[in-house]
Point group: C2
Chain length 414, copies 2
């Protein structure tokens, strides 16, 4: 039986009014109750997830990795919910209130967006992450996970429902839609009661959502992340960052996919990195200059390699003749997700930060730090590769907007 | 002959890199040169505008009012450009840089969006306003005005071009496209080199842009603005604000279209307001209770009246029984543009500010203050009725975005 999407959206809209107007304490009570419930039910949730995993046998290793939610990870999720609870309440905050020449005072007030729809695949942890960020920021949320994670999401939904009841918030403030019908998504995407849709998953899902949605979406596209080894780089640091970026996890969007090295550093920097990567089973595809340094252990990179998000044990390597060329390469072939420089030259670092047009730009840090938790957001709704509204890891603030507030004493305008 | 849209967009993309990387002083030099050029050529621009007006004879009074650009208004435009020059440079500003438990520092850097496309009708002043805000914020801009303002826009384009040259910025940083072909707009809307389109004009234009654009748009829709007279209102202030809001100018989006009055205040508040409005020739359409107070000078409002943006000497009036009912009415029938309360009760004022879901919410101020200049932005790109990214009058900040900057000392992630 299909859930009536419009009824869901209307109920969420009504609930959004209640959540948006609720005191900070009520929303934090929900978060603390959710964290507690996740901890109490960690084993049960992991057992439900185990059933999803059994049913999914035969899917790719990367997919199974994303689907898995062992009890340890449930406890980590609970820690994220606690971190969200500990953040300041953004709702109703007034900033930049200043007097104008006319005598009026003009400022901005932060307010919830209203109703958020999340459409995602695998990763059942997203259910708890997005529910906690949405309620903290005063919104209602409709959570639509993939059918492959149905049992896990049902178990998480129970924790969410009991935490809402404990906080005295309406059940429709966070609804997990788990009916397995593709049509439901299509119907939800046409509901004008929904203010924002967050698609998280493969390109197919994201493009479908962008095509069908009547509301704005916060897109989360490819992560073709670069590490550039500057002429002045500390080569031991470069080696650590390259290996960590590439081999920590292969299937994630902040993994390193392409390595650039300044020609003055390449001959010293690349051989030890290649050695480490190959000992982890990583295939290296390099430009001509890279191959001249690394020899036959390095395959020849084709033009397509520079733009590729491998999500696999493969890395492309290119030698460049300047910082300028590195920045131009990244802005041309990159996906605007996360890019890093290793350098001991401050001005090179700041130039990289300023000129690379990506949602996260880093100096002397591994790209895999691009993550809401590591950025102090507690959790993340996703990592936005859009430029407008929210860019990079999206937390509580990305689910709010600011309106102008104007205070006066009866001023009229000529 | 049609201008090749793709060439235009590519040239603008290249220019955006130059403007975004240019020092603050170069962008301010452009602004000061533009203001000076506008003042020097005020008479010539007004003469060109006079020719546009002659050609447009027969169009509605509201349209002609929007098209007119007398020399006084050119000087006012120049003042707006000066105000933009005087603002802080937002480009490259790093904020919220904080250490994280891992030892990395995470902050945000404000950066230009890239290439802005403005598509607008009449109002030639928009050409100077948007050019100055776009360059100040480090962007390139393509300005596409209406054919009815061709001569005015050509005259303004010359000032912009000479100011760019004087500042040493590329000519493609701000291009006025004035070829009169509707196809050019369609082609520009398909250019992926453009990061944001700002449509300003009638609903037809805005809906066309939303339908055809491959890039995000910043929409500027109807202004069905309300003034609510609270039970505790100062009735003399209410009278002033109602009359100023309705009669200052009829054809603008921040004009008052609907008046609400608390039932305890209505009998005293409405008759003097009605008297003033009718002496200005404003037609009043009221609910039953309003008609019981005002008698036959008040026509009966139909259900459609509550949602209407008249842009004409007409106002709808409704008596409500509570602040709650007033807020519910505004959130149901309003357009989310600008709404105001007159009250002497602080808690009523704050509740109105918090609960009315509009881009500008005001206490004891006339709605016609909703304007970039009055808000201290110098000028405005438009008044956004979207919730995401930028809401209300959009100035320099709305043409920028923030990316994460991450600084470390070689941290890797477990």
């Amino acid at each position: 039986m299909t859930v009536a999407a419009r009824d869901l959206a209307s109920a969420a809209r009504a609930a959004a009014g209640v959540v948006g107007g609720s005191p900070t304490a009520a929303r934090n009570r929900f978060l603390r109750a959710l964290a507690e419930s996740l901890r109490e039910n960690a084993e049960g949730i992991a057992a439900a997830n185990e059933k999803d995993l059994q049913k999914a046998r035969g899917l790719s290793a990367a997919l199974l990795e994303r689907l898995a939610l062992p009890a340890d990870d449930v406890n980590r999720l609970a820690g994220g919910v606690d971190a969200v609870a500990a953040q300041n309440d953004p709702v109703g905050e007034v900033s930049d209130l200043r007097p104008m020449p006319s005598g009026i005072f003009v400022g901005k007030m932060r307010v919830p967006l209203g109703v958020i729809l999340a459409v995602y695949e695998s990763r059942p942890g997203v259910t708890a992450d997005i529910a906690s960020l949405a309620i903290k920021s005063g919104n209602a949320v409709i959570l639509r996970g993939g059918s492959e994670a149905r049992r896990s999401n049902d178990a998480l939904a129970q924790c969410i429902a009991s935490a809402l009841a404990e906080a005295g918030l309406p059940a429709a403030a966070a609804t997990v839609v788990n009916d397995g019908s593709r049509d439901t998504v299509g119907e939800l995407l046409r509901c004008e009661e929904i203010d924002l849709v967050v698609p998280r998953g493969g390109r197919g899902l994201i493009e479908r959502v962008a095509r069908e949605a009547v509301m704005p979406s916060l897109k989360h596209l490819d992560g073709n992340c670069h590490l550039y080894i500057d002429a002045s780089a500390d080569l031991r640091m470069a080696r650590k960052l390259a290996v960590n970026g590439k081999t920590r996890r292969y299937g994630v969007c902040n993994a390193l996919e392409s390595l650039l090295a300044h020609e003055d550093a390449a001959a010293d920097a690349l051989p030890p990195i290649a050695e480490d990567l190959m000992s982890c089973g990583v295939e290296i595809r390099g430009c001509e200059k890279t191959r001249a340094i690394l020899g036959e252990k390095c395959a020849a990179a084709a033009e397509e390699d520079w733009a590729k998000e491998y999500l696999a044990p493969v890395v492309s390597v290119r030698v460049v003749s300047s910082l300028r060329e590195a920045i131009a390469h990244i802005n041309r072939y990159g996906s605007g997700h996360t890019d890093a420089i290793v350098t001991n030259d401050q001005s090179a670092g700041w130039r990289f930060l300023r000129e690379v047009d990506s949602s996260s730009v880093m100096v002397n840090v591994s790209t895999v730090f691009a993550d809401g938790g590591e950025y102090g957001l507690g959790a993340e709704v996703g990592i936005s590769t859009d430029k407008l509204h929210a860019r990079g890891p999206v937390g509580v603030e990305g689910l709010t907007t600011q309106k102008y507030v104007v205070l006066g004493g009866g001023q009229t305008r000529r």
